[in-house]
């Protein structure tokens, strides 16, 4: 069962989130102050934290930074009525993974929780700093480099590279890629996967000694280090 820590001081809102999440079979621990949050995260490990910004004692941003300082990598979703771009950036800089403004649709919160949990499982099987040939990926920083040169990847390109790396030396089909990298189902007639493989090749393979991404005709793609 996925364990969620809910830090929210508004009782009515907290009660409805707890009820909704429990109905979707999550186990929810509900607390209402920042100090409690810092204490409880020392003993128990959670799969996800939902954090309000305006708490009676310390601010959500501070809690977020404190948790990240303690090397707790649990996904954090900030839930706040402070819904400006500056606040969002502040939250993400403090180490939050996502930011949702109030009022929100419960369905959206649920979807974001699922997305975070999926991302965690997506990253599973890859160590924090994974190397393959001369390619290196840093999960914590969500960055990639090849032969010491930083690769500027967009989020989807990064996710695609991560998926290919996870399935290295194995042929993956376009459908497998589409389902894993894009959560939405889009029409298979479109060429989205090919386009993004092309973007990725331009950044990962172009100008380097050897290629890592290979097309397997009629089947899909292969991520492999083979000298040519």
């Amino acid at each position: 069962m996925t364990k969620i820590l809910l830090i929210e001081d508004d009782d009515r809102l907290a009660a409805f989130i707890q009820k909704g999440l429990e109905e979707h079979l999550y186990s929810v621990t509900r607390i209402s102050t920042g100090y409690e949050a810092l204490a409880v995260t020392q003993d128990i490990s959670f799969d996800l934290i939902i954090l309000d910004i305006m708490l009676p004692d310390i601010s959500g941003f501070q809690i977020c930074s404190a948790l990240r300082e303690r090397k707790i990598t649990t996904s954090i979703i900030i839930l706040s009525a402070l819904d400006t771009t500056e606040e969002k950036i502040k939250g993400l800089q403090a180490g939050a993974d996502d930011y949702l403004g109030k009022p929100f649709h419960f369905e959206e919160l649920l979807a974001r929780i699922n997305a975070q949990i999926r991302r965690k499982s997506f990253e599973q099987g890859i160590t924090d700093s994974q190397k393959y040939a001369d390619l290196e990926i840093n999960i914590a920083e969500q960055s990639a480099s090849r032969a010491g040169k930083t690769l500027f990847l967009s989020p989807r390109e990064y996710k695609l590279l991560l998926f290919l790396l996870k399935n290295r030396e194995r042929v993956v089909t376009r459908t497998q890629i589409a389902e894993a990298v894009w959560d939405i189902h889009f029409n298979t007639h479109t060429n989205v996967v090919d386009v993004y493989i092309n973007y990725l090749r331009n950044k990962v393979d172009k100008g380097f000694q050897f290629s890592l991404i290979h097309t397997v005709k009629g089947r899909g793609y292969l991520f492999k280090h083979k000298e040519e």
Binding site: I184, V192, V195
Partner: protein
């Protein structure tokens, strides 16, 4: 009218200054002239006396007679003769004054010399003759001159006073006349308030001066003010109406439902209706807040971002709210031009604007598949969002961006007429051109034409 008085005072001060300067100049020049003429007279007298006393032996009787006649005319002037040892050898007066030897020496040096002692003017000449060299000194007080100067002084002071007073009164009169239209303008402006903003100030068309310019500027200002007040008034009217409708529906549902016990299924159905209304209110409020934010500030933070990533995020959100939606994304045209996807934008705002268009496309085509394609149009990124929905009538194409506009035929489709207006404002802020192509009954295609990339993308 402080300004009027101020103008009169200032102008009077200037007039007084100019008059005083010119009068003082006149007085001084006149005084100089009088003094000079008197010296000349004294000099002539001294010469006559010298001739009379010293040239009797050298002149014939006829000439001497003329001199003698002239000498007889000297009454008031004092004449004194001094010899080479500065001794007074002749005195033609009973006055008590002494002459400094240095002055006598000076007369000898200069031949002719004028000076004044107290009020008395002196003219001295050095006369060389066979009887000896003499200094002849004629002196007198110029009583006429002093009287004339005194009169002149009096006249000038009187005229100065009259001039200053007259100038003050006339300027005051002139200022009053000049400022009269202004005070009338002020009166007119004072009569205009929030209730009669439609009224305008009358312009005197015959004259094209600062006043008519000011009146025009006022009228222009009133026009803008009226427009602003009107739009705010309309906005409030519409906003309150839009908010009242779902609220009325909530209250009505609750009243009816609570009036007697009902089946569980019915409660469920009513709760669903309440939920829809609450969502409606929420989205109106969010739209209005965003709009007021957009209007209030033009300093939205912009950053570099990939538009395809933004689209994926929008689509993810859409799929949460609308799981049955089918959206086909076509990136074929930009497959080899990823640099076109780099745009400079405010991520949150652009997500809302594009999200609105996609929501509309889905809403007005009863969830038929919609096509989104990213194209290269002469070096500019163009996002095309196409649906196969009910389309927009041609005559409505200009109205759809108006705040709170709802097409009559779409009354059954939920909405509140904020989305498109908001999207348009956001696109304008990003300098994104929006083209709407629509055929009633066949569908709508919206093209978003991004501004040309000004700098080459990084990487």
């Amino acid at each position: 009218m402080i300004l009027r008085l101020k103008l009169a005072w200032n102008s009077t001060f200037i007039v007084a200054l100019i008059l005083s300067l010119s009068f003082a100049g006149t007085y001084l020049l006149f005084k100089q002239h009088i003094t000079h003429s008197f010296y000349k007279r004294l000099q002539t007298r001294a010469l006559t006396a010298a001739f009379f006393h010293l040239e009797k032996d050298e002149l014939n009787a006829q000439k001497y007679e003329v001199i003698e006649k002239k000498y007889q005319e000297i009454h008031r002037e004092s004449i004194r003769f001094f010899d080479g040892q500065n001794r007074m050898v002749f005195e033609f007066d009973t006055l008590h004054y002494t002459i400094d030897p240095s002055i006598l020496n000076r007369i000898r040096e200069n031949k002719i010399f004028h000076f004044t002692k107290n009020e008395r003017q002196f003219a001295g000449i050095f006369y060389q003759d066979n009887e000896g060299d003499f200094v002849v000194l004629a002196s007198d007080i110029d009583k006429d001159g002093i009287n004339q100067l005194g009169m002149l002084n009096l006249y000038l002071v009187v005229f100065l006073f009259i001039g200053v007073v007259l100038s003050f009164l006339l300027t005051l009169l002139l200022a009053k006349k000049t400022f009269k239209p202004f005070s009338m303008l002020i009166q007119n402006v004072n009569t205009i308030s929030a209730t009669n903003l439609h009224e305008r100030l009358s312009i005197n068309s015959s004259e094209k001066d600062e006043l008519s310019e000011l009146t025009k500027a006022f009228n222009h200002f009133l026009e803008r003010l009226e427009k602003g007040v009107k739009s705010q008034h309309n906005f409030l009217k519409h906003a309150s109406h839009e908010l009242k409708t779902p609220l009325a529906s909530i209250i009505g549902h609750l009243e009816v439902t609570l009036s007697r016990p009902r089946e569980n299924a019915e409660y469920r159905e009513k709760m669903q209706a309440l939920y829809t209304d609450a969502l409606h209110i929420k989205s109106i409020l969010e739209g209005l807040l965003l709009l007021s934010g957009l209007e209030g500030s033009h300093h939205m933070p912009f950053s570099s971002l990939r538009v395809d990533e933004l689209l994926w995020d929008v689509l993810e959100k859409t799929s949460i709210n609308n799981p049955n939606a089918i959206i086909q994304l076509n990136l074929h045209d930009v497959e080899h031009k990823p640099e076109l996807l780099e745009v400079h934008a405010n991520r949150d705002l652009l997500m809302i604007a594009v999200g609105n268009l996609i929501d509309n496309a889905l809403k007005f085509s009863s969830n038929q598949p919609i096509d989104i394609s990213l194209n290269d149009r002469a070096g500019r990124l163009c996002i095309a969002i196409a649906d196969k929905g009910i389309g927009i009538e041609e005559r409505e194409l200009t109205d759809i961006f108006t705040l709170f506009y709802r097409s009559a035929k779409n009354a059954a489709i939920p909405g509140h007429g904020i989305g498109l207006h908001l999207s348009k404002q956001i696109f304008d802020l990003h300098r994104i051109d929006m083209e709407v192509h629509s055929f009633a009954g066949k569908g709508t295609t919206i093209h978003l034409l991004f501004p040309e990339i000004s700098s080459p993308p990084k990487n």
